[in-house]
């Protein structure tokens, strides 16, 4: 039982993203594969941002939850295919919004930014579209800082990429 793939996936759901502690790494779409090769267990993950300092913490946390049953489990970082916010499921997006973070919206392939076009981010508290970008670089690399001009609350937006 402890050796089935689904049991491993279940336990990986207890590892959270340290910068979004209400979301686990499976919901974030970071865990790509769980593979048994003989006695060996390999978990393959894809980092969200190449320079994300949380990646090392996540690798250690995954080893910790597997240590009891799989002391030799390895965690491998795979770059291909590149992680995208398109992999964050609707439930995880709803959790983000419930925690005051506007989830990523639209397609990650939009190129209109090259000529200065801005996307509209609705306020996660009141739903107003009358919001303003304060800084594209917020508390972490993956978030932008916005303010809502209707309810006057500041909020984070998980950038689309």
């Amino acid at each position: 039982m402890v050796n089935s793939e689904s049991a491993i996936w279940k336990r990986l759901e207890t590892v959270v993203d340290p910068e979004l502690p209400f979301l686990n790494v499976v919901e974030m779409g970071m865990v790509r594969e769980v593979e048994f090769t003989g006695d060996d267990l390999v978990v393959r993950i894809t980092p969200t941002y190449t320079g994300c300092p949380a990646t090392d913490v996540i690798v250690n946390d995954i080893r910790s939850v597997l240590r009891a049953t799989h002391p030799l489990a390895r965690v491998e970082i795979v770059q291909h295919p590149a992680w995208t916010t398109d992999w964050i499921g609707p439930e995880a997006r709803a959790k983000m919004a419930a925690n005051g973070i506007a989830p990523p919206e639209g397609s990650s392939n939009d190129k209109s930014f090259l000529l200065g076009k801005k996307s509209v981010v609705p306020c996660p508290r009141c739903g107003s579209l009358d919001t303003q970008l304060v800084s594209a670089f917020g508390s972490t690399a993956c978030k932008a800082h916005y303010t809502c001009k209707a309810c006057l609350e500041p909020f984070d937006h998980f950038k689309c990429f």
Partner: protein, 253 residues
């Protein structure tokens, strides 16, 4: 699998990223406002993350037990292959943002090509991630170029001076040398002449909006970085960046 031209090509990308990241990190604690201090250090983090992935790829291909750190910390300036533009001192905020824009638009176009059209699958994977991050670099820099150019008399004057200085470093971005020619032939890298056209369209539209005069594309252009002939500035940057690793080889957190 990698021949020396191929390795050289990957190192150029990595060196651009690490030097740009190091220059951006110099703003840590010195940003003009809190949000920009955070923004510039976030941008630095992206660059260093991209550099790590590229150096790790280079190390894997170079073999002989080399690591990403060997490339970043144990090469001297003549071995670095970054463009001259990224090694220039950070200057004032306007200078840094003008460089972020001029180099960033080039780098975005280059990475976009690599993400979809290179024959090198591992490089494509790194570029696919990088291009998404670089999108925000261009957006951020573009906004500031417009705000500063179309801002006060003082901000306009200073950012116009930065543009004049940086312009002579834009030629190197699009002047293909033997490595670029090899990369194009091998289906690894983009056609820099085609890239130049797209870059010019983006830059001209933005500078116009920023009420800045577009410098002549036929003026004198600096070059040499891609061949390892650097300005005096790179040595000082490396001295700082490499000092810890060289004083304590193999040191780890």
């Amino acid at each position: 699998m990698a021949n020396s031209a191929h390795l050289n090509y990957v190192l150029r990308l990595a060196d651009d990223a690490v030097i740009q990241g190091q220059r951006l990190s110099e703003w840590c604690g010195h940003g003009p406002i809190l949000e920009e201090d955070i923004a510039l250090t976030n941008l630095a983090l992206d660059c260093i993350g991209q550099a790590r992935a590229l150096y790790a790829l280079a190390a894997e291909r170079a073999g002989a037990g080399q690591t990403e750190d060997d490339f970043a910390y144990f090469r001297d300036e003549e071995a670095f292959r970054n463009h001259l533009m990224v090694e220039l001192p950070k200057g004032d905020f306007g200078f840094t943002l003008m460089r972020q824009f001029l180099f960033g638009a080039f780098n975005w176009l280059r990475m976009e090509h690599l993400s979809g059209q290179t024959q090198d699958a591992e490089l494509a994977a790194i570029a696919t991630k990088a291009v998404k991050e670089l999108r925000y670099h261009v957006e951020h820099a573009r906004d500031w170029v417009v705000r500063l150019g179309d801002g006060t008399e003082e901000s306009h004057r200073r950012v116009a001076e930065s543009l004049a200085t940086l312009w002579s470093y834009t030629g190197e971005l699009f002047a293909p040398d033997s490595i670029d020619d090899w990369a194009l032939q091998a289906g690894i890298g983009p056609d820099l002449t085609a890239l130049h056209g797209r870059w010019t369209a983006i830059v001209e539209a933005t500078l116009k909006e920023a009420t800045l005069e577009i410098p002549s594309p036929t003026g004198w252009m600096q070059s040499g970085g891609k061949a390892g002939r650097h300005s005096e500035h790179l040595g000082y940057l490396l001295a700082e960046m490499q000092s810890l690793a060289r004083k304590h080889p193999g040191v780890a957190w």
